[in-house]
Amino acid sequence: MSDTGVHEEPELIQLLTPEGELTGHPDYPLEISADEARALYRDLVLVRRVDSEAVSLQRQGELGLWASLLGQEAAQIGSGRALREQDMAFPSYREHGVAWCRGIQPKELLGMFRGVTNGGWDPHEHGFHLYTIVIGSQALHATGYAMGVQRDGALGEDGTAVISYFGDGATSQGDTNEAFNFASVNNAPVVFFCQNNQWAISEPLERQSRVPIYKRAAGFGFPGVRVDGNDVLAVLAVTRAALANAREGNGPTLVEAFTYRMGAHTTNDDPTRYRASAELDEWKAKDPILRMRRYLEGNGLADEEFFASVDAEADALGEQVRTECRSLPDPEPLEIFHEVYAEPHVHIDRQRAEFAEYLASFEAEGA
């Protein structure tokens, strides 16, 4: 057989070791100022706080569900900060860190998991699509959007790039593979960003693929790269390069961010049923925040005061998230009928009217 499918251990692009040592990478030079490094650290800490608050809020019954990003902060902040304003991101349902980078307020995310909206933000305003729950679907939306960008002639150095997020499990879905193919044959300006967090609920990576995920790209005719997903600098550099490549008309790239889901799949899940705690311990040593802190400390880029101020900011943000969540107003019953159609729809209008009358009949009774 001309191609055996057996590969050497894949290269993992890393700029920062777990010990916080900046090693750099010849293919991904990254110039980063102290300010920028501190800003990334701050992002990491704040999104982790939003996330842990949300987990608590769910436990308190304030949210129906929450999908925690714990452990994936660097993958999300690194890629999110690589985006430019005009770019468009298509998230899955766990991209709270990317949302943060795109200026989505935490309460908007909470609103969805509380059940007061299906995601209340304006995707156009933020360059951030709504969360997509049906696995894989958004990879095609991203590709189509990118084909639109091509048609707008919005490529070039200041052009628009598109990014689609999904998990390791999602790579098994037909839609994801169709998206790879549509993007490839159309040379669409889209980056496929796979957060390989090693698990799809209870199923380990081996149930989804028997080779590293980034290898999938070559079979569709475009480059794939595996980056240390717990290294925010490496993710930033690799994603930036992939976006630049897309922007300049060189087509798609698959970025596999090698990371770990440190929490449960969602607040409904109990990972002790299917995975060993030793695995978690191993990954704790690679924690994305710790690593960045070591880097800042080790290179004298931040002092205790800085870290204390970030922690204080996190506390305040946590407080804000709790308050905002609790005060999210419930939707009005008649909102059921809102925006089902863009144009008048006799049938929906009538159902709405009848239901309004029905509801009013209770008020009348009550009065």
């Binding site: 995707p123 990879a139 590709t143 048609r151 193919n181 809102h338 925006e339 006799v346």
Partner: protein, 325 residues
């Protein structure tokens, strides 16, 4: 006035829409150089180029999924599903994404996507080329579903569908593609009958015979053939939403309703129409609503389709049954 077949009328309507709005795109399998297997997109590739007439990879989910993305970018994609039976790989993108996107986004996203589907039987085809999947669509909130029965509607309704900011499932009666009639292509779209309105295709007084798409012609033939009864033929045109005022008015006048369609009986469009009409016209009905439909079996091999599909005799039998009460 131009003499056009239904197929050519859709082609002319697509062309008019593309000329009118540069954001209108056509995409699907073989829609480019070939002009589609039914030639409905004939000539568009030549005149509008590969950027606006896109030969896609062979993947229906990919087609609808990328069309959604293009709509988000401000385009108005007209997607062709090559045959009815090949819609199903796109079911997820259609039902969970396209149909729900507007409400999911609280109106921030519009989905002006038209999905053209040549549908129905009677062309002697192999399996999966003769399906009538309209029930799956009309049960799905967020979609509009229309079908055309003549060149005039074909020409205008495709343009109306494209101008709509809602996703529209546009069902083309493939066995009627070659039916011809005069179309005034110079008229204004504003004057055309609205896409959502049913049409009295032939007035009558004794019984209402409701059909859409390919069965409208059969219904008209039945009205012609039945010399015992004065049959009022309604062409539904829009299956979702249904123009019930027009339907009720007719049924209240005639007191009897027969619904004919190629979709299978159980859970077919006739079920919903029967339920609604009975609810609203209960005291006007002299007989239950009679449904004439395909049997509840998979579409059979083509040598049996003449038995499977409701034909003139079965429609007339349905009318007779309505008078048996």
């Amino acid at each position: 006035m131009t003499n056009l077949t239904i197929g050519k009328a859709i082609n002319a309507g697509l062309r008019a829409a593309m000329e009118h709005d540069p954001k209108v795109l056509v995409m699907g399998e073989d829609v480019g150089k070939l002009g589609g297997v039914f030639r409905v997109t004939d000539g568009l590739y030549k005149d509008f180029g590969a950027d606006r007439v896109i030969d896609t990879p062979l993947a229906e989910s990919g087609i609808v999924g990328t069309a959604i993305g293009m709509a988000m970018r401000g385009y108005r994609p007209v997607v062709e599903i090559q045959f009815d039976g090949f819609f199903f790989p796109a079911a997820n993108q259609t039902f969970t994404q396209l149909a729900k996107m507007r409400r999911r986004s609280a109106g921030k996203l519009s989905m002006p996507v038209v999905m053209r589907i040549p549908y129905g039987g009677g062309i002697g085809a192999v399996e999966h080329h003769s399906e009538s999947p309209e029930s799956y669509f009309l049960h799905t909130a967020g979609l509009r579903v229309v079908s055309v029965a003549n060149p005039e509607d074909a020409y205008w309704m495709i343009q109306q569908a494209i101008r709509s900011d809602d996703p529209v499932i546009f069902l083309e009666p493939k066995r009627r593609y070659y039916e011809k009639a005069e179309v005034d292509t110079e008229a204004s779209i504003a004057e055309a009958a609205p896409m959502g309105a049913a049409r009295v295709a032939r007035p009558g007084t004794d019984v209402t015979l409701l059909a859409y798409g390919p069965m409208v012609k059969t219904a008209l033939q039945a009205a012609e053939a039945d010399t015992d009864h004065s049959i009022e033929v309604l062409d539904l045109r829009s299956l979702a939403p249904v123009d019930y005022p027009t339907v009720f008015e007719s049924v209240r006048k005639t007191g009897r309703l027969v619904v004919a369609h190629e979709a299978t009986l159980t859970g077919g469009p006739g079920a919903e129409i029967a339920a609604r009409v009975t609810e609203e016209c209960f005291y006007h009905l002299e007989a239950p609503v009679i449904r004439v439909a395909a049997f509840d079996t998979p579409y059979p091999q083509s040598r049996l389709e003449e038995y499977y599909l409701p034909d003139l005799d079965r429609v007339l039998d349905g009318v007779d049954r309505a008078f048996a009460y």
